[in-house]
């Protein structure tokens, strides 16, 4: 028993240093650069998922009461796809890219070579603890790095399962999981990394970036924001409602960075919209949604209290038009829709990250764009409309990580689209090849020959050389010839 306790000693700055040293040695030895090594690791990850699906689903149920379907599809299936894509395309991604050269450097050839950054730190979040841990790791492996993964302590069952599975299936001299909370994360952040990827909230992101600044470590920050949904009239309301529900309560009960946060619609359309929600929500989750097995719970009592504070604020609680029930012992809040909450309420001034959906009404749909741009830039923005002009305006005016028209959240599954934020919703992007790129350094390489050494590059500097240089940099063959002949003016 004593040795067990000793083994789980405090993970402090020295432990963090040791981990980084070990990984750096592995990296320098070239282990992670090898194509076959990368393949084996990715295949091992697939095997890890194939052989442990029930355990993963169980851990997610423990941590979040996540329905089996959400776990199987939005965590495991998505991850498997990501892994398979990397396996299929990695060789291609690893190939140097030819670059064009111009007259200014003639004769020469140029290319851009992808190389791993080195030893990277991935800090993931609690809401999709499996996906958000291993998806970045896939990119880091494909790009040839050594990795430390720090899963969130707010989803402890998944964190400890990840630690166990990664140690069993993957090469622990190059890929390690470090469990823990603030002290352990702080110890890790003191170290020098070649890249840090953080998924989470803006407050911690500032701490991560400040720590990275000490070592000039580049960062990717995948944050969140208030993802708005604009609902226009003249659409298929039922389909729109269902898609909003799927993106909100169907995604970890609203606890997802790209979940619709609030809705903006016209005063005229609001009543129809609310009725549509009432109808579809009951079809999906029944008359007693607190008992529905198809909804995740709120992750813990802190967040539960936070959400109740948003819901029970005086000027807000009277605006509930559907739901509002809560079950404290099971950490459940029923899908709740609110209509016309005031702009200065708490619920409209922080990312909700839960099963509460405020609907804000405006006079005309066009007014929604200014409303959105007056706030910070969200990770995603959605619009339901059949009006071509409105679509164009939406795309032009709204700045967000990603936009979807006539659906919600599905762009996440599209690996050809970069997934990331802008402004307060983050910096950098990943998914598909973007994951590979984000964990690579794109090294520029110029090959020159000894032929064609233009004396005009070197001193002594004369007016003639100046003339020639001007023509050469100007790229005009005629100009060059004239300068050579001494015909152009200085």
């Amino acid at each position: 028993m004593a040795s067990e306790v000793e083994k789980k000693a405090v993970f402090d700055i020295d432990s963090a240093k040791e981990v980084v040293q070990e990984l750096r040695a592995s990296f320098v030895a070239g282990k992670t650069k090898d194509y076959e090594w990368r393949r084996t690791q990715l295949k091992a990850m697939l095997k890890l998922m194939d052989e442990n699906e029930p355990q993963i689903v169980a851990a997610l149920r423990d941590d979040l009461s996540k329905p089996e379907l959400e776990s199987s599809i939005y965590e495991i299936a998505m991850l498997k796809n990501s892994c398979k894509l990397a396996l299929k395309k990695m060789k291609h991604w690893m190939m140097p890219e030819k670059a064009k050269t111009s007259l200014a450097t003639f004769p020469s050839s140029a290319e851009i070579v992808s190389e791993p950054l080195g030893v990277v730190l991935v800090i993931s979040a609690w809401n999709y603890p499996f996906l958000l841990s291993l998806d970045p790791v896939i990119g880091a492996i494909a790009a040839g790095n050594a990795i430390v993964l720090k899963p969130s302590e707010i989803s402890p069952a998944t964190a400890s399962l990840l630690a166990k599975l990664v140690a069993n299936y993957m090469d622990s001299s190059c890929i390690k999981v470090v469990e823990g909370a603030v002290p352990e994360t702080t110890a890790l952040l003191e170290q020098k990394w070649d890249k840090i990827m953080y998924t989470g909230n803006g407050r911690i992101a500032r701490i991560v970036m400040a720590a990275a600044a000490k070592h000039l470590t580049p960062v990717v920050l995948e944050l969140g924001g208030k993802c708005p949904v604009i609902v226009d009239s003249g659409i298929n309301l039922q389909v729109a409602t269902r898609r909003i529900i799927a993106g909100k309560w169907g995604c970890n009960n609203g606890q997802a960075c790209i979940s619709p946060d609030y809705i903006i619609t016209t005063k005229d359309y609001a009543v129809e919209l609310v009725d549509s929600f009432k109808c579809e929500l009951e079809l999906f989750y029944g008359k007693n949604p607190l008992e529905s097995k198809d909804l995740s719970r709120v992750v813990n009592s802190n967040h539960f209290a936070r959400l109740l504070k948003l819901l029970d604020e005086d000027k807000v609680s009277s605006k509930i038009v559907y739901g509002g029930e809560r079950d404290k012992s099971n950490l459940k809040i029923a899908p709740t829709v609110l209509l016309d909450v005031p702009q200065d309420s708490l619920i409209m001034n922080e990312e909700i990250f839960g099963p509460l959906l405020p609907i804000i009404t405006i006079d005309k749909v066009e007014d929604s764009f200014d409303l959105i741009t007056s706030g910070t830039k969200p990770l995603a923005a959605y619009m339901f409309t059949n009006n071509k002009k409105l679509k164009e305006k939406f795309v032009e005016k709204v700045s967000a990580g990603g936009l979807v028209i006539n659906d919600t959240t599905v762009h996440l599954a599209e690996p050809t689209l970069p997934f990331g934020g802008v402004g307060d919703s983050g910096m950098g992007a990943y998914h598909g090849k973007f994951s590979f790129d984000t964990f690579s350094h794109k090294k520029a390489v110029l090959y020159r020959s000894f032929a064609g050494d233009a004396p005009l590059r070197y001193p002594p500097y004369t007016n003639g050389k100046l003339r020639l240089l001007k023509s050469l940099l100007g790229g005009s063959i005629l100009g060059i010839i004239r300068a050579l002949m001494g015909w152009s003016k200085a």
Partner: protein
């Protein structure tokens, strides 16, 4: 009560918000105006560079004016292409759907430039920021005061004042600027200040590009080939060390690595070339910049103070404090733990480090932090491959120096301590843009299994869908697959 600085920035934000910088025609007009600025003020620019750094017009044209003109012209010719959204492939499962990535300006950006290439390093990022549709505050370095004054006075005469502003001042102004919220900060300078910039940016979650430096080595493996190639090598080394601002350049050759037995040949060639390019001694020195100020001059002189370092001087070493000139100086094997071998030199002192075997240069370079560039003069293809795969640097240039800077299609930036982010050509446009993903969906067809209540059938359907197993899906729908 807003200070004038805060008022300026509020105006930049207002201009951006009102869409003043969005249209392609605005961006093109600004770029054309910048080109006019350069064309109509070439002599003043040469004068300012001579005043601040002693640069000759040819060096000024080659490294600053010409580079900028090329950059603006290239950007003007490519802008429409860069601004266009890029289509992204969408799998059948999402049909009908359209996906694209559209570049958008970040907003209000801050550019800090350095003193050694006071025009290029200020205006080249500016070109990128304008082309991407941002409003810009440019803070040139006060260590090149004539150039800074020129920019402060001249830019407002040509560019849209509501969208592009230039602020004069020193470190204190820089610090105040860093307290404010920007949508992007682009910094060229030292790693020390780079850390401060990033730490300040972290408070606002502002993305940054840091163009820093390091000790850029030149590996020399070509002296035993033909004499003409050896001569060209020597010229390119001399041109890559003392050519750019007398070594005060992030991509200047910092030190040379060569095999022991070839060191003396190299040194003789270098000496001859130096004399031919720059003159016989410090009194007759020409065609070369001077040291920017007393502080840098003292720093460089101090590098030579260490007696072991002074002993290793094989050429040059004379200094003229009044004129802020240090003659091209070559050192042979100064102690590896001396400051000259551990700090970025950024001046006209060239250490030559000898090795038993040139392949050792790889380990030598890896023992130091990642430089901005590695130069390698070699015709051995295997060695080239080894250098590429076993070292890490922003760029690698084979058989030449400096010219990679002119290549618009190559990303220019560092890695590790030499920085992160990149620019030049389209990379400038990208670095000041946000790539926004856009997905268009239709209302039909509807995939029912997306919605609860969950059933085993829906689970299986989605599993097959996510595997893009269309055949399996058909079987399931026809009832041939059991859940």
């Amino acid at each position: 009560m807003l200070s004038s600085m805060e008022k300026s920035i509020a105006e930049l934000r207002e201009t951006f918000k009102n869409g003043g910088t969005k249209s392609i025609s605005w961006r093109k007009s600004q770029l054309k105006a910048l080109l006019q600025l350069i064309n109509q003020n070439e002599d003043s620019i040469f004068k300012a560079l001579d005043q601040d750094l002693g640069k000759s017009p040819v060096e000024s044209y080659r490294d600053e004016v010409g580079v900028l003109k090329k950059s603006v012209t290239y950007t003007l010719s490519c802008l429409e292409k860069w601004v266009a959204p890029k289509k992204a492939e969408v799998p059948l499962l999402f049909f009908p759907a359209k996906a694209e990535v559209m570049p958008q300006p970040l907003g209000v950006v801050l550019i800090f430039s350095s003193w050694n290439f006071p025009f290029t390093l200020a205006l080249d990022p500016l070109i990128g920021a304008i082309s991407a549709g941002n409003t810009v505050l440019l803070k040139p370095s006060d260590l090149a005061p004539a150039c800074m004054s020129f920019l402060v006075e001249t830019i407002p005469k040509y560019l849209d004042n509501k969208a592009v502003k230039v602020l004069a001042g020193g470190a204190d102004i820089g610090e105040r600027l860093l307290q404010l919220k920007w949508d992007k900060i682009f910094f060229t300078g030292s790693p020390r200040v780079g850390r401060l910039v990033m730490a300040a940016a972290a408070k606002h979650l502002t993305p940054v590009t840091l163009e820093l430096g390091g000790k850029s080595p030149a590996i020399v493996d070509t002296l035993s080939t033909t004499p003409s190639k050896a001569k060209v090598t020597a010229k390119r080394i001399v041109g890559g060390k003392w050519g750019p601002c007398t070594g005060q350049a992030c991509i200047a050759i910092d030190y040379v690595l060569v095999e022991e037995k070839l060191a003396s040949t190299l040194i003789e060639l270098l000496k001859k070339t130096i004399k031919r390019f720059y003159g016989e001694n410090i009194k007759s020195l020409k065609n070369i910049s001077r040291i920017v100020n007393k502080h840098q001059f003292q720093r460089l002189v101090n590098l030579l103070k260490d007696p072991n370092v002074a002993d290793s001087i094989v050429y040059g070493g004379s200094v003229d404090e009044e004129k802020l000139v240090i003659e091209p100086t070559i050192l042979l094997d100064p102690p590896l733990d001396s400051e000259i071998m551990s700090e970025e030199i950024f001046g006209p002192l060239l250490p030559i480090i000898t090795l038993k075997n040139i392949e050792e240069s790889i380990d030598f370079i890896n023992s130091k932090s990642n430089p901005l560039v590695i130069y390698a003069f070699t015709e051995d293809d295997t060695f080239k491959k080894r250098i590429l795969s076993e070292t890490s640097s922003g760029t690698v240039t084979f058989n030449d120096s400096m010219v990679q800077f002119l290549c618009d299609s190559l990303p220019f930036g560092g890695v590790g301590q030499s920085g992160f982010g990149r620019y030049h050509g389209k990379y400038s446009f990208d670095t000041f843009s946000h790539e926004k993903s856009i997905m268009h969906r239709g209302f039909y067809p509807e995939i029912e299994p997306r919605y609860p209540p969950w059933t085993d059938f829906k689970l299986l359907f989605l599993k097959l869908a996510y595997q893009f197993d269309y055949f399996g899906l058909i079987l399931l729908l026809l009832g041939f697959k059991r859940s």
